[in-house]
């Protein structure tokens, strides 16, 4: 080792203990992140398991031509965008509003109760939450339909009615995550200098002025960063949620890119086709993040990098 002539490696020898500590992570990232990225090439091949990634034949862009010529793909792509757009429209501001409302609460124990209660669903899996809501919204035993029937209307098959399914997705997603997502905004609010509020009071500001001119601007850096992530998620749909909640009756409105990839890839074992769909989704998501980050940075100077 002491004969080593490569000067670039010298610091690695000098800090060999740090390198040793980092080694498992290096192996992990190469093995379970970079090897799968390398494996993405099967989107351009006709993958046959017995031949392996290397042995399978190149087919160029054939799978992508297949995908883009397929009505079922566009249907799924549309569903993904529509559901994500609704989630962005309703789900993104909700925790911000909750944080602002909580910030206006002066009774500490009440604030704490609301926080504790609203965080709770976040700790449960989508399997649990989906099971819970399938029973809760059931036309035969669910209390919501009991009320609807009591009011004299027909029961609604929330989980199996294409008219309602997207609403169910958006509302249950908000229900599960609203409290948890508000934490990061509340963290931003704890950093506000209380003197700002006192000064504005002297100037005769009321609470709406405070919220508009002090609270909200203080949250802007965090809102910006969360917004970039949310844009990146436009095509990275919530597999966990949709997969556990949907059924064949609502495929036309509920089937999204990730569930489609799962069914075509792992159920029908069309590995190359499904990988191509996954790659398409990944590239779009990555591009969206980069573009949003660039725009946001130009507009207000905050960004992810």
């Amino acid at each position: 080792m002491n004969k080593l002539k490569l000067p670039a490696l010298r610091p690695y020898v000098r800090h060999k203990y740090l390198v040793l500590l980092f080694l498992p992570a290096f192996l992990y990232y190469v093995m379970f992140h970079y090897v799968p990225i390398y494996g993405l090439q099967i989107a351009f091949k006709d993958y046959v398991f017995s031949k392996g990634i290397w042995g399978s034949e190149w087919v160029g862009l054939e799978h992508f031509r297949d995908i883009f010529g397929m009505e079922s793909f566009w249907q799924v792509f549309r569903n993904t965008l529509i559901i994500s757009a609704y989630k962005l429209l309703f789900g993104f501001p909700a925790p911000i509003i909750l944080a602002i409302l909580l910030n206006e609460i002066r009774l500490v124990f009440f604030k704490r109760i609301v926080q504790t209660v609203s965080y709770m669903p976040h700790f449960l899996s989508w399997v649990v939450i989906a099971s819970l809501f399938i029973q809760f919204l059931s036309p035969s035993i669910g209390p919501l339909n009991a009320v609807i029937k009591w009011l004299g209307f027909d029961p609604i098959y929330f989980m199996a009615d294409p008219k309602w399914f997207r609403t169910v997705l958006v509302v249950t997603d908000m229900w599960k995550e609203i409290g948890w997502s508000s934490i990061i905004y509340l963290a931003a609010l704890t950093g506000i200098n209380p003197e700002l509020y006192e000064a504005s009071k002297v100037d005769g500001a009321n609470r709406y002025h405070n919220i508009r001119f002090i609270t909200l601007p203080s949250m802007m850096p965090v809102i910006t960063i969360m917004f970039i992530f949310a844009i990146g998620k436009l095509v990275n749909d919530d597999f966990d949620q949709v997969f556990n909640m949907y059924n064949s009756a609502v495929y036309e409105v509920g089937d999204v890119l990730s569930t489609y990839t799962y069914r075509r890839g792992l159920v029908d074992m069309e590995y190359s086709f499904a990988t191509a769909v996954g790659l398409f989704k990944n590239v779009v998501a990555f591009t969206l993040i980069v573009i949003t980050n660039a725009i946001v940075k130009r507009v207000n100077d905050y960004g992810l990098w």
Partner: protein, 289 residues
Amino acid sequence: MKHRWSLSSVAFDVFNYALLILLCISMLYPFLFLFTLSFSSPESSFATVRLLPETWTLDNYAKVLSNEFVLAGFGNTIIRTALGTALTLIVTVCTAYPLAKRHFPHRNFWTMFVVFTMFFSGGLIPLFLLVKSLGMMNTTWALVLPTLLHTFHMIICRNFFMALPESLEESAKIDGANDIVILFRIVIPLSMPILATVVLWTAVWHWNAWFDSLIYITDPNNQVLQVVMRRIVLEGTQQMMNLNDAEEVANPETIKAATVMVTTIPIILFYPFLQKHFVKGILVGSLKG
């Protein structure tokens, strides 16, 4: 500080409290419904809204807890959670520490190497094929190794390490300690809050994980609890429900509710303790973005 009791301010408070109380009710009511359903006898009617069971029974729980798949699922979940959490904690600390050190060679490059995976991945199929070709199918390793490091948690841990006073480590270095000794003797004892956070995050993640078990584990006896529950509740698999003994009256809905409760109760019991650490972890991590 003097409050001015303007009418609009009072109106705002009334509205605000009412809205938040409503939010709490909407959060809690579905759980109360599930609770009620799980303790109800099979013949109970749910034609009207019911807050508590018509007749209380423990039969549903007895059925669920005597179900061999549920019991096996419990065991498998505990094994993966214990093994996964232990390994993840060790590797997270070992990764976060070098990345927190200014003198780690090409630190920025290695940070990018790690962070890039948060934004771009091979996706479902290449990972599945990899796990399969590594011969990890039907082993606990398939549930533990592909998710060994959660990059975001590791970064938060790194930020915490970076905030520790450097003078402590320098004096240890003068005394002849190397980086590994410093990590274990000085840094780790000072980092208990963030380590507790990582442990809880990972443990809850493993407890709730199901998809990897669904695709990597094919033997029904080796499935984790969440997948068993999925089969019973979402797919309504009769065999897994132990409903084959036809002479008994059984209501699949009350059985399903009890199954969901059984999966949920462990987390709900730990929840007040978990919440504190989770929130603290988020706050610690967000201080240095």
